[in-house]
């Protein structure tokens, strides 16, 4: 009977119900969208970094800087053969690529642009990052052959094409400036703007000669699965290598970006909390209004012998129904929207690109639908509606029957 009455009360004042249901709806809907964007961003950044820059982990000199301003050549891994042997023997290593990462620049004869140079063993680099699949023009490097691959946007900036000669310049301070002309074999488009507009690839052996060094700076390793990172790290620590080493994961590398996302998440959390609070206050207010309006009815119920706790329940059930209504609609709609953008992506225009800031995302942004989070927000929406009704319910139950009956013009 109480449930039936509560249900009828929900549909009693359409305007009021619309306000309360909408309050729940917007609270939940906004929270879901914000979460979808955040999770999408996080996932996409991680995925892009793994695919194009870091793979699962990198093995480097213990003092290797994550800070881009420092020169990686100052922290080389001098003897990497033992590490390669170690990696080749492990079943959890899907692929690995020893590399030299250095600060350099490219020149077309008139303009010079700073860029990250990557000395690679073509087949190994290809196994880890599928570079050959990212070739947009020309061909991938063949080992033993001289030549350079250039990020497609960087080539565009320099007005260079496949087959052109480009001057590769190293800026390793201790060695002075060193320059060498190489033929452009291909252009690379990874989807990672950091690489596409600021990196070039040359054979490892050539790089070693060019920089007059025998070692490397880092080995990118594909472990295939994040859960293998920790055990792998401890095994590397246990094994004795000539160089003191460190293993960092894509997460360490992505820290800046992830922190950016975390920061954004905090802001969104604050916004979400505010919206949900406003929703709660809206519900509380409208329910208080409902209570004032129904004062005499409440007194009448009391006169008929309805107990105080039943009056409370009557209101709470009404609040819950409002919550269920708003939350259900919000979750269904937001899941559709977020899932749509998870599949289709949002093409990045100027405004969105700006909003994303310096995140390594280009082309399309994909949202991510987290079903556990959706369930959480669904329940949260209902809980907020119920909790917001507690005070009005309690106030109603506290009414003295006489006062309530005298309520509005009654005797």
């Amino acid at each position: 009977m109480l449930i039936q009455m509560a249900l009828k009360n929900v549909f009693r004042n359409v305007t009021r119900t619309r306000i309360t249901v909408l309050a729940v709806f917007w609270g939940v809907f906004f929270s879901m969208l914000a979460d979808g964007v955040n999770k999408g961003l996080e996932w996409q950044i991680g995925n892009l970094l793994i695919r194009t820059e870091t793979s699962t982990i990198k093995i480097v000199n213990r003092n290797y800087p994550l800070d881009e301003l420092e020169n990686p050549l100052d922290y080389p891994v001098r003897e990497y053969e033992p590490i390669v042997g170690f990696l080749a023997a492990r079943s959890d290593v899907k692929a690995y690529s020893p590399r030299i990462t250095f600060h350099g620049s490219l020149s077309n004869g008139s303009d010079e642009i700073r860029a990250i140079g990557l000395g690679i063993e073509p087949e190994k680099e290809d196994k880890v990052f599928d570079r050959s699949g990212a070739i947009s023009q020309g061909k991938y490097l063949v080992s033993g052959e001289e030549g350079v691959l250039i990020g497609s946007d960087l080539a565009g900036l320099l007005g260079l094409r496949v087959g052109d000669m480009v001057t590769v310049i190293s800026q390793a301070a201790e060695m002075g400036t060193n320059a060498y002309d190489l033929e452009i074999k291909g252009l690379i488009q990874t989807g990672n703007p950091v690489l596409d507009s600021g990196a070039f690839w040359i054979p490892l052996q050539f790089t070693q000669d060019f920089l007059s060094m025998t070692g490397i700076t880092d080995i990118a390793v594909n472990l295939g699965n994040d859960s293998r990172i920790l055990p792998f790290q401890s095994e590397v620590r246990k094994a004795k290598f000539p160089d003191k080493l460190k293993v960092f994961s894509w997460r360490d590398y992505a820290k800046d970006f992830i922190e950016l996302v975390a920061f954004r998440k905090r802001i969104i959390n604050i916004l979400t909390t505010m919206i949900l609070l406003i929703a709660g206050f809206g519900i509380m207010n409208t329910m208080l209004m409902a209570m004032m309006e129904r004062k005499r009815e409440i007194g009448n119920l009391m006169a008929m012998g309805v107990r105080r706790n039943e009056i409370v329940r009557l209101f709470l059930i009404e609040g819950m129904m409002i919550g269920v209504l708003g939350s259900t609609v919000a979750i269904i709609l937001s899941c559709i929207v977020v899932y749509y953008f998870q599949l289709q992506g949002i093409p990045l225009g100027g405004a969105i690109q700006n909003a994303l800031g310096s995140t390594p995302i280009a082309g399309k942004f994909y949202a991510y639908l987290d079903p556990v989070q959706a369930l959480f927000y669904y329940i949260l929406g209902i809980v907020i509606a119920v909790v917001s009704t507690v005070y009005p319910a309690w106030k109603s139950a506290k009414l003295q029957p006489v006062e309530a009956i005298r309520g509005i013009g009654g005797q």
Partner: protein
Amino acid sequence: MAAVLIQDLTKEYGTGLVAVKALDNINLAVEKGEFTVLAGPSGSGKTTLLNMIGSLDTPTSGQVLVHEIDIAKIDNRRQADFRRERLGFIFQSYNLIPVLTVFENVEFPLTLLKRFSKDERDEKVHRILAEVGLESLAHRRPGELSGGQQQRVAIARALVKEPAVVLADEPTANLDSVNGEAILDLMKELNQRKKITFIFSSHDRMVIERARRVVRLKDGRIEGDEKRAG
């Protein structure tokens, strides 16, 4: 045993200098099955007295025993249970629940009692609605009825559980004389047939004349108490 026994009942509103004695040392016994009207001018304490009997308000001093239960001495919850078991209320402004149909309004007190099956409830509701002549309107909402019809529903609602005492505060005041008389006849008839104790208030002479017992109130005191034959 009296249905309602009131002893030295005083009700003051406010305190100190602004205190108003709404009821001043009332002593009254109402027997089972009586049809009693509380008469008196506005402000004489009729509503206050009915509220005291109905445990809707608490006395400042004195006792109200309804079927030997001292209703001021029991807690909120037991007061509610007492009302749901023993009392029926009829108000001047009907006070039906607007979201429920006529049928549901009348069924409501039975549902609260929890001891009737749906079939039993249906049967009782149909019977009482027939008695007040409203069967055909069972599925309307209160808002779709005239004042007289609404008050009939209120009477049906108060009587459907056959309570020990029905309290009616100016049940005819919002009705024209024809409807008022009809309502009063209905109440009287139900009182005689079901032996339910009726206490109602009125300052309408026509109504007062039809009561079997008239208790006159003035300034919170009983000024007169006359009984007469049917």
